[in-house]
């Protein structure tokens, strides 16, 4: 423009004339309009009304009408780029030559990859998350499940793939024992996820469900990032920041606690302290256990979070708890029929993780360091059984995100584990240095087809052995809302430490998983079906040369080898509907498993005592908006389990009766003087069914004892009060 001005002869014009001339010249350099018209559609040819069509770098353009058509005129000349954009679609553009002649162009836009049109690798995993829209559960669902008593594993055991074993803690997954599931917090294995095990009394998890923003329960075929679990991993991810500022009080029949959250822009701290004593509850609810000193416990935890950089998050969590109890437990082998047990437990766990990302999130770092220490001082009829364990671990994972959802990660972990068992003066000691390296890649062939390929190598100094475990997973999108997936892999775990005290030549135990999954998630309704086959190999067998000893607390003393094997096969399904009835949500789960093993003291393959073939549950949640109250119900059915009857020639051929349980839970939200208050009450086993979990026999085989729950019908009430700043408007805000 300036060039043109200089080349033209304007010197003789007056300044005023020049001004107007220039004004005209600069605003309408071009004249003569070009019509640009056409249509915007998706790849399938559906019209996209409301799409934005424009000439890049200019103001010219328009919005498509209800039929996806557009029409506009432009004064632009020569070449231009015509672009079309639409929410949820990739922008498209084309070069045009504008010469006054009408231009017709049709756009076919490509949908952006999103959770609805892209397959997700899911076989074997059951997720509760707020962030992932395709997750089947929300973290809140876990807390509000009746019959779970706000315990994470208590709620998880109602999910498909889990078998309920009433008298023991732990997650029993698809034919696996409770020891075959590892609990992992932010990538770190938790050495003592449950309160110390007691004879025939199920223990709760040590962690508050409100600590976690997401839970992923794997029923098999899990990622190469995790190991040392033959059946399952329960992955818990802690929240990144404190949710509210201020003081909270919790008060219920079992304990009283205080929690305090304080947050600034880049830092936050949460502190919890509690004291519990089950005496008041146990005087109200009839106990099947003869308590000499009702469980009494105190503890505290502290969480510190820091954001040192834009994306970096450092979390440090430390907890300490102390508990003691004394009871008379049933002991068939004792003349009095009972045995006095005293237990004092001290447990500490410190974990710190640092996560960060660089280059627009293309590189992700997850690292952690943790230490746990647990001490049980136990006496059985004045005979000392002390347990001590310690685990130090470090972990580092680097992930590289590539284009089109593809990613590759590699990492490693190292653990030092110290175990000590004192059996009446004799001290058994073990030390294991366990290291693992892993690499895994997620590959999206198309949006419909994706795969995850991983490999994990592990070394245990105790076993002085190395293993390599491949893991594979594929998923294929069969429709807009449905997909099938397949997972397979090998999983290794060190044998139960009690065998290793006496025999250090044992090998890893191994499980091979094959899982096929189909799921539909549509309109707040979910259907999921999964079938699996699991092969167990290298299981530890013990040879005593004597009759089978059914005492679950016996200390192994026979010779051992890795000659055992077994299988588990079955299927499960899950149906959830949040849509049909307003404010009513229900889900139904059914799991079938068939399993046999040759392991431990078995002299031929049989179904282990922790297997129940059928597990079903119905969970309902109803929200009454007007009275701000939710009423939740859980019905759980567990078919009979094998038990050892010394009088039956056929080994483990007897079955206990089935277990039925109906629980209800109500919670109400209210406020008193501006403070938020949650009141809750629950009744477990409302029909007071006398459930039996297993039977035990006296040594002569003549008398049978039933082992059932700690109490039959029981109830619980409590409250949580939040003296939160948010609950009132501060004068300074006005």
């Amino acid at each position: 423009m300036v060039d043109r001005f200089v080349s033209s002869k304007t010197q003789n014009l007056s300044a005023m004339k020049l001004f107007y001339y220039l004004l005209f010249f600069s605003t309408s350099v071009a004249y003569g309009q070009t019509v640009v018209k056409g249509k915007v559609m998706d790849k399938k040819g559906h019209a996209l009304p409301g799409a934005n069509v424009f000439l890049k770098g200019t103001y010219d353009g328009t919005t498509t009408d209800s039929s996806g058509a557009f029409y506009f005129k432009t004064f632009e000349k020569d070449s231009a780029a015509l672009a079309a954009s639409y929410v949820g679609f990739e922008i498209a553009e084309t070069k045009l030559s504008l010469k006054g002649k009408e231009i017709v162009y049709q756009f076919r836009l490509e949908e952006l990859a999103n959770e609805l049109n892209t397959v997700v690798i899911t076989a074997g995993a059951f997720e509760a998350s707020d962030e992932k829209r395709m997750a089947m559960l929300k973290p809140l669902d876990i807390v509000t499940t009746a019959g779970a008593a706000a315990d994470i594993t208590g709620a998880i055991q109602f999910l498909p793939g889990a078998q309920r074993v009433g008298e023991q803690e732990g997650l029993f997954v698809r034919g696996g024992s409770g020891q075959e599931t590892k609990v992992v917090i932010d990538g770190m294995i938790v050495q003592n996820p449950f309160f110390s095990s007691l004879p025939d009394v199920q223990q709760r998890g040590r962690f508050n469900p409100f600590m976690f923003k997401g839970t992923s329960f794997s029923t098999g075929g899990y990622s190469a990032q995790y190991g040392q679990a033959l059946s399952s991993v329960l992955l818990l991810n802690t929240t990144d920041k404190a949710s509210n500022n201020g003081l909270g009080i919790s008060l219920n029949l079992a304990n009283a606690g205080l929690n305090y959250d304080y947050a600034t822009k880049n830092q936050s701290i949460s502190a919890v302290a509690y004291y519990g004593n089950l005496k008041p509850l146990f005087t109200l609810v009839k106990q099947n256990v003869d308590w000499l000193h009702e469980p009494e416990f105190k503890g505290s935890s502290l969480t510190y979070r820091l954001k040192p950089t834009k994306h970096g998050v450092l979390k440090v969590y430390g907890m300490y708890s102390d508990s003691r109890l004394s009871m008379n437990s049933k002991d068939p082998s004792n003349e009095s029929g009972k045995m006095k047990l005293d237990l004092k437990n001290r447990n500490a766990f410190v974990t710190s993780t640092y996560t960060d990302q660089w280059r627009d999130g293309k590189w992700l770092l997850n690292s952690g360091f943790s230490y746990s220490r647990n001490k049980d001082n136990m006496t059985f009829d004045a005979v000392h059984f002390d347990r001590f364990d310690e685990r130090t671990q470090a972990r580092l994972v680097l992930t590289r995100l590539l284009s089109g959802n593809n990613s590759v990660l590699f990492g490693g972990e190292a653990h030092v584990i110290n175990l000590q068992n004192g059996v009446d003066g004799t001290l058994y000691h073990l030390k294991d240095r366990y290291t693992a390296v892993f690499a895994e890649s997620e590959i999206y062939v198309t949006r419909q087809l994706a795969g995850r390929v991983g490999v994990r190598g592990e070394y245990s100094s105790l076993l002085d052995r190395f293993n390599v475990a491949p893991r594979l997973s594929f998923a294929y999108k069969t429709g807009k809302y449905s997909q099938v997936s397949l997972a397979a892999g090998q999983f290794y775990q060190n044998p139960d430490y009690r065998y290793l005290y006496l025999n250090k030549n044992l090998n890893f135990e191994r499980a091979d998983h094959l899982i096929l999954n189909f799921q539909i998630i549509k309109n707040q309704r979910t259907f999921r079906f999964e079938t699996f086959y699991k092969n167990y190999a290298q299981l530890v067998r013990e040879f005593t040369g004597q009759a089978y000893d059914a005492d679950p607390y016996r200390f192994p003393w026979g010779t051992t080898n890795n000659g055992g094997h077994g299988y588990a096969r079955g299927f499960d399904f899950f149906w959830r509907d949040q849509k049909t009835i307003k404010n009513f949500d229900y889900w139904v789960t059914y799991s079938y498993v068939d399993s046999k093993r040759l392991f431990q003291q078995f002299d031929h393959a049989a179904t282990p005592t922790f297997i129940s073939n059928h597990n079903a549950s119905l969970i309902t949640k109803k929200w009454f908006e007007k009275i701000q109250t939710s009423l939740n119900m859980t019905y759980a059915f567990t078919s009979g389990r094998p038990y050892y009857n010394p009088n039956n020639e056929e080994f483990l051929a007897d079955r206990t009766p089935a277990v039925h349980n109906v629980s209800i839970q109500a919670s109400k939200l209210t406020s008193i003087k501006g403070n938020l208050i949650i009141l809750y009450a629950s009744v477990d086993n409302i029909f007071n069914i006398k459930n039996v979990f297993t039977y035990r026999y006296t040594p002569d085989g003549k008398t049978r004892y039933a082992v059932g729950p700690q109490s039959y019908r029981s109830f619980f009430v409590g409250t949580q009060i939040m003296l939160s700043k948010k609950a009132k408007v501060d004068k300074n805000d006005l």
Binding site: M1, V2, F5, V6, T10, Q11, A15, L18, F19, L22, L23, S26, T27, P49, G50, A51, N52, F54, K56, G57, T58, Y59, D60, G61, T62, T63, A83, S85, V87, G88, N114, L116, D130, E131, R133, K138, L140, K213, T239, K241, S243, K265, Q628, L669, T670, S671, G674, N675, L676, I677, S724, K726, A727, K728, V729, D733, L734
Partner: protein
């Protein structure tokens, strides 16, 4: 002399062309803002809002250095997030709004109270889409952005309108309700009376909404 004349004429030309361009930008923004002002905020018709959002986005692509067109487009998408048919659809619009706000933050270069307020607004609407499950995450995000906006300019009346509306729609059991919302809405209106927008195209929305909500809170 002639040289000087040519030089000053050249300078004038370049100034005029910048000025004309700027005028074109302001005019385009003004006409789009007036369309946005005419949208019935009780209905927030997505078809109407989409058309206006597209206008702002077109201005945004032509004026690659201006943050306001993206800000206004984000405002349109935020309002669409309110009227979407499903959670997925609402999230789609709000994802778009978040993306545009991120771009405008980069262009603004320094913290802008208006952008922070819009981020808080988008978080509030995301929370409203699924309150039970989202209050924890998006409630915190809302507060975070509101606090950041206060740090930049505590006299911005939209801060108090959003705080008030957040409490207005929070059940009393959670410490919300009309009673606690009222003083904040009153404060917002007082701040609106003193508020001087920096230009004809600077954000001015919220007064009508605050007045309407206060009238409801008084009932």
């Amino acid at each position: 002399m002639k040289k000087l004349f040519i030089t000053s004429a050249l300078l004038l030309v370049s100034m005029i062309s910048v000025f004309a361009q700027n005028e074109k930008y302001v005019q385009a923004m003004e006409s789009s803002i007036s369309l946005l002002d005419k949208v019935d905020k009780a209905k927030n018709d997505p078809v109407e809002l989409q058309e206006i959002a597209n206008r702002f986005e077109r201005i945004g692509t032509a004026e690659a250095k201006e943050w306001l067109p993206r800000y206004y487009a984000a405002y349109c998408y935020t309002l669409m997030g309110l009227s979407g048919n499903s959670i997925a659809e609402k999230d789609k619009f709000l994802d778009k709004a978040d993306g545009l706000l991120k771009e405008s933050e980069t262009l603004a270069g320094k913290p802008s109270d208006e952008i922070l307020i819009m981020k808080a607004y988008a978080a509030q609407i995301r929370l409203a889409a699924d309150g039970m499950n989202r209050w924890q995450k998006y409630g915190a995000l809302f507060t975070e952005n509101i606090d950041a906006a206060k740090a930049v300019n505590s006299d911005n009346p939209r801060i108090y309108y959003l705080e008030g509306s957040s409490l207005f729609f929070t059940p009393e059991e959670y410490g919300g309700g009309k009673k606690v919302a009222k003083p904040l809405l009153e404060k917002s209106i007082a701040k609106f009376a003193a508020f001087k927008p920096q230009s004809s195209i600077a954000p001015q929305w919220g007064k009508m909404e605050a007045e309407w909500m206060l009238s409801q809170a008084n009932q």
